[in-house]
């Protein structure tokens, strides 16, 4: 059964690759290309870019917008129906159990990054959670660790690089992979090596990896069905909104939830605002 599921996920992956190529060939992807290529050279736009305090630059906007369009196509044809099917067939508690199980599998990678960041207290929490949840938490499907006061946290190698002082680099969007930055995309590749399963090269381990990737994607998408639909329906430019929400949330994630309010832009400090007072 798991074997069949694994093959199914693999088939979806292959189909996805064809769909991206097909979409590109049919020009589905290119509908925003004028937007990406329009670079207004006037001073004001440079000033706009410079004034965007703490913002990550997006020099690859044309490419990213094409990838975003390809992603939305795959999202609508594959991910959203799969996520809705998953929601319809799996009870809420079951979906939460699967999210917890997948999160527990990520614990070794989180632990490595906690240590690399010198966050030994948090590393201890990650280790305790992994031990508690893998045993009395029914292999990770339950989260007794949170109930005894050890809350979950995430870490990845991109965050470690950020803590080490590496700049985010340009914003990057890839179909099915989602939003990231130059630094965080590189971090994701390194992160693959922090997965113990990566080193087990047997057919069952391969199936387990593919299955986890597929289930993980659908599980993550299910969680964001409503918020993303809401953002898309309200946004004047879904690509730009998505980018802003992602980059803002990512900044907080890197800061381990401690929000730095000092780099927020001022609201109401332009001289044009004087007539309001």
């Amino acid at each position: 059964m798991a074997y069949r599921l694994g093959k199914g996920i693999l088939a979806i992956g292959v189909a996805a690759a064809f769909l991206i190529a097909g979409a590109a060939a049919q020009g589905v992807v290119g509908d925003t290309s004028p937007a990406g290529e329009t670079v207004d050279p006037s001073d004001i736009d440079n000033a706009v870019a410079a004034a965007d305090s703490g913002a990550v630059s997006d020099p690859w906007e044309g490419f990213n917008r094409s990838m975003f369009s390809a992603h939305l196509f795959l999202d609508r044809t594959l991910l959203v129906p799969a996520a809705k099917g998953y929601r319809a067939t799996t009870p809420k508690s079951g979906r939460r159990g699967i999210r917890r199980f997948l999160a527990n599998l990520r614990a070794p990678g989180v632990f490595v990054n906690d240590v690399l960041q010198g966050e030994f207290g948090r590393a201890g929490e990650t280790l305790s959670r992994f031990v508690v949840n893998s045993t009395i938490g029914a292999g990770g499907f339950a989260d007794p660790a949170a109930q005894i006061g050890i809350p979950a946290h995430g870490e990845d190698f991109g965050q470690t690089l950020a803590v080490w002082g590496i700049d985010s680099g340009p914003y990057l969007f890839l179909p099915l992979v989602g939003p990231s930055t130059g630094r965080d995309g590189f971090g994701q590749i390194v992160q693959i090596g922090m997965d113990p399963l990566f080193y087990v090269r047997t057919p069952p381990a391969d199936i387990a990896r593919y299955t986890r990737a597929g289930v993980g994607g659908v599980s993550a998408r299910e969680q964001f069905l409503d918020p993303l639909a809401e953002i898309e329906s309200k946004s004047l430019d879904y690509y730009a909104s998505f980018r802003s929400f992602y980059l803002q949330a990512r900044k907080r994630e890197i800061a381990n939830g401690k929000v730095d309010y000092s780099d927020l832009p001022d609201i109401g400090e332009f001289e044009e605002f004087d007539d309001l007072e």
Partner: protein, 211 residues
Amino acid sequence: MSKSMNGASSLYRLAAAAIASVSLIATPARADDAAEKFVAEILVDANGVFAAPDLAARNAGIEKLVDKYVDMNRVARFALGPYVRQASDAQMAEYLPLFRKYATTVYQSTLDPYSGESLEVTDSVDRSDRDFIVNSKVVNAKPGSQYADLVVHWRVYRAADGKQSIVDAGASGVWLAIEQQSTFKSVIANNGGGAAGIDALIRDLKSKLGE
């Protein structure tokens, strides 16, 4: 700065001092007491709105709160970024009411997940003597629920005369007006920037609002 000592602000300080003396605790007067109090009062009203069982009533309630407390003209100007300097009077006259409508719908949909919950002020941060972040959280959030670790932020702006208003709201480090500015700048820049870009933004706002 001396500005914040004027007008209504000093009234708030007096009130805060009075409360402190009643409680017999010599708390030093913190600059953000008035900002926290301002948000706490709004949350009393907001929690009443969140309790309404039907969506239309909640949306009407939130619109009323937004009109009363959010300085929409200020947020609207912020959302244009530096392009605000390039907008003509005619464009601003068309843009400001559209923005008010648009931002209100964003507040309505953003706040709807808090239906049935209530929020309380937890702490605040002074960015300057005119600019405050007041944080709040869901009261009695269940551990492990989506509300458990959620921080809802309110950006309070204090005008020179001491009058306070909300200029942004956010959750867990993600702010609405900052997203709006980022998106609006993108729309303007990708439609040729300047006057043409602002016209495009106005057109997009109209079509989004079904006008």
